[in-house]
């Protein structure tokens, strides 16, 4: 599904050029559950943002479903983002002024889905995630775990082929984190490709493959056991 070839990203600072990513080359298959790990400032989130086509300032080749993203203009990339990607943030990033229902509705309205269809999809997603009773609440009225649940629901409401999760359990305690990871596992079983960034070995084991970054370089790749994930 994803092919990266010599992806590089750098920043100009007063101390000179700073490389966030150096010649990253990797392939990710359809339906894979991949974890990206590494120390702080390794370039994990940067790589995720490039994969999600939120960051346009990079070099190299990036193919998404055989489409050459590197040749596309930012507007075209965002169109591809809408078609393929759902993003889950560490800080949840729910829209505080909207209810849970409206937060789920937002991505669908940006994809020009008709109102009647949107209503059906949102209701279905609320039901699927067991948060129907919370649909009229505002994010500030939810606990952290519930907020992340809503954030994941929002990420999948438009049925993306690819979910990018940047430290989705970073602000949750272990029980909540485990629930979230089980959910990801379930989504992956249903066919969604998932790429997550995490510091936790325990949560990394939920994925099939671990890619380790260090100082912007691809340090190593490991395969994991699919049944791992229990403490």
């Amino acid at each position: 599904m994803i092919k990266l070839k010599n992806i590089e990203k750098c920043f100009q600072t007063c101390a000179g050029m700073l490389y966030a990513l150096r010649r990253i080359t990797l392939d990710i298959e359809d339906g894979e559950f991949v974890t990206i790990m590494g120390p702080s400032a390794a370039g994990k989130s940067t790589l995720l943002n490039i994969l999600g086509m939120l960051d346009h300032d990079w070099e190299g080749e990036y193919y998404l479903d055989d489409q050459a993203v590197h040749t596309l203009k930012p507007k075209q990339r965002m169109a591809l983002n809408r078609q393929y990607v759902g993003f889950v943030f560490q800080a949840f990033n729910l829209l505080d002024s909207l209810t849970v229902y409206d937060n789920l509705d937002a991505p669908l309205s940006y994809r020009n889905v008709k109102a009647s269809e949107r209503a059906a999809i949102v209701c279905d997603t609320l039901d699927r995630f067991g948060i129907v009773g919370k649909k009229d609440l505002f994010p500030s009225q939810l606990a952290g775990g519930q907020q992340q649940l809503v954030a994941i629901a929002r990420a999948v409401v438009a049925s993306p082929k690819l979910i990018l999760a940047d430290e989705p359990t970073g602000n949750l305690h272990s029980t909540q984190g485990q629930e979230i990871m089980e959910l990801f596992k379930k989504l992956n079983r249903e066919g969604t490709t998932i790429i997550q960034v995490t510091h936790s070995d325990k949560y990394a084991a939920y994925g099939k493959r671990i890619i380790k970054l260090k100082d912007g370089w691809l340090d190593s790749e490991l395969k994991t056991s699919q049944s791992a994930g229990k403490a």
């Binding site: 939120l54 960051d55 943030f89 990033n93 829209l95 991505p107 940006y110 994809r111 929002r154």
Partner: protein, 801 residues
Amino acid sequence: MGTILQDIRYGLRMLVKSPGFTIVAVLTLALGIGANTAIFSVVNTVLLRPLPFYDPDQLVRLSTVYDDGGTGPASYPDFEDWHHQSQSFEYLAAYTFQSNDFITGGEPERLQGACVSQSFFPLLGVNACIGRTFLEGEDQPGADKVVVLSYRIWKRHFGENPNILGRTVRLDDVGYTVVGVLPYDFERPLLKGTDFWIPPSERHPRYRYSYEVIGRLKHGVTQAQATEEMKTIATRIAQDYPESHSNFVGVKLESLSSYIVGDTHLYLLVLQGAIAFVLLIACANVANLVLARATTREKEIAVRQALGASTFRVARQMLTESLLLALVGGVTGVLVAFCAIDILKTHVFWIVPRADEIDIDLWVLGFAFLASVVTGLFFGMVPVVRLHRSMPYVSLMERWTMSGTKSKLSNTLVVLEFSAALVLLIGAGLMIRTFHKLVTVNTGFNSANLLTFKVSLPPSRYANESQCLVFCQQTLTRLTDLRGVKGAAMNVTMPFGGLYSTSNMTVSGRPESEQPNLDASIHSVTPGYFRTLGIPLRGGRTFNEQDIARRSRFVIINEKLAQVCWPNENPLGQRLKIGREAPGGSRVDYEVIGVVGSTLQSELTQELEPSIYFAYSVPFFDRNLGFVVRAEADPEGLVADVRNIIRELDPSLAILQIGTMQQSIADSISRQRFSLMFFCLFAVLAMILVIVGIYGVVSYVVSQRTHEIGIRVALGARQQNILSMILKRGLTLSLAGSAIGLVGAVGLTRFLSSCLYGVSPMDPVTFAIVPLLITGVAMLACYVPARRAAKVDPMEALRYE
């Protein structure tokens, strides 16, 4: 006290620490307070300040009251009877303005003077700085001809020569002995602009009503009591002189101050109200700025409260800062007002009485101070109200977002200023429509390329009719012979020339009960007048030279008179009589030989009135001649030639009021032009403040919602989604402001009725276009920050390390 000083010190420090905010707020306030102070200086001078005479409350104006309810000036004999018979007045005086040629050896100069009774100066409490004013008996027929000069004339013509007393000056070739000079600061209502004062040397008939009468009530006598007494006196006079006073029913008294102010008080109050809206908008703008600034200081406030500061202490600090800001704005505003006053005076001079007295006195400074304090409290309360409602501990949490209260307050302020601006803009729109109606009014004649001027023939050299006629004909012949002149004519009471004469008229052979009972304007014209002015001939013929030579009793009437007097008949050949029966005389018939189109006489807003035209010198001749010349091109190019012609005919004649007819017409609507200018200025100021306000609020919202916008883009929002989200906010504010503004305009524009012409205060065109216009401009103001929002890089927005 110590803590208050602490608050002041801290407040000043905070203002200095944020120079950008302080400068913008001070300038905004200076604009609003300065403009209000400048207009208040006019209101203060014209409406509030007492007349600059001693005991001004005792001064009244007297006018004759007619049985139809109308009022008018008195005749000198009537004034003398009032003076002798009344017990209510300490002084009664009469005056009438006139102009004469002042001859001192050089080029004659036409001066504005006044013919006044002996009691005039004592009534006003005015003394000469050199010599004296008039003595008892000097205003009686046969007395020596004496004159009191203004300081201005004494300085200009005599170089402040102290030996001026006893010198003889010539007014229209008649010698007058100078007995006094008024002080240099004698520029007061009624007599400013007057260069000389003479007592009446002859008595006009009792039926010549040309004198204004003023009185000083005795202490203890009320206006009502004096009115009652004068009514008795007027009734007695009417019984004694039934031929000329049959329709006199009394004497009206009004305070001299009210008379001088006239109908300008409502007009000035409308202006003051309009500029108050600008201050309101400025306040709302500054309130929003203060609110935004308070938001950034919430953590500081939360810490203060956590350290033990009460809400009152924190609120007092914020109010102190706001008042300091307002006072600095007020001081700057007064400086703005000082600069604006001179400009204001030149524009209102012809429209508002006592305009030359306008200045900034202690009352005006007090107004500026009060306005500063009120505005400071107004916008200072806004963050205090929010402080009262906020949960300070929330701002101490790491992840804190702007609460809805700030948004609501901010939105309310924007809606408030939008609605105020809309009211002003609708006012300006109504003024524009009025002005457009005025400038397109059909005057009834062709005013293009017309040059007009006047001369006043002195009786000493033009004693009889034939001398006046010869001068008039010679002037017209020479004017017509000029290159570039298509025609020339004369009318004693030229349209828009400032002179206006009316007379009662009756239809000959009709019983009293069927008479039209109207006054018609009277004109004395030369042949060729109608052709020169482009007044169409509807029937019959115009005058010719034979009519003048034979003194034929012919008249030409206008369509309006024909409609009123002979609605179903041909007016040609009909006969009419002019004026009231003079004592011992009988009126003669005049035959109607022509009907011409109706014209406006003095104001574009007046209705067409009945007019009667006589051939010049029939039945009377007038020494005040109004000439009109139709030029082939620019009439101003003929001015020098006209001066040469008059100088050649009579070197000692002064030319008066030479200018184009179009300028005279434009001068007649100077008040409307002034209103338009000021309303448009206020409206533009208001619009600028509102645009800045909306731009500021929307920009602030965008900056606060950058994170949210980044999330939306990451979720798939397109640029147009973000653009429309931001623009929708601006549109909502604009529509809410428009709705409230329209309601306000419906209630307030009726106060503009007296300033409007041909336009209803609820003119649907204006009410439809203005909201669309201001909403459109507001949307443009929102577009810039909206565009910025649409270009938010989600990467920047979501960066959380």
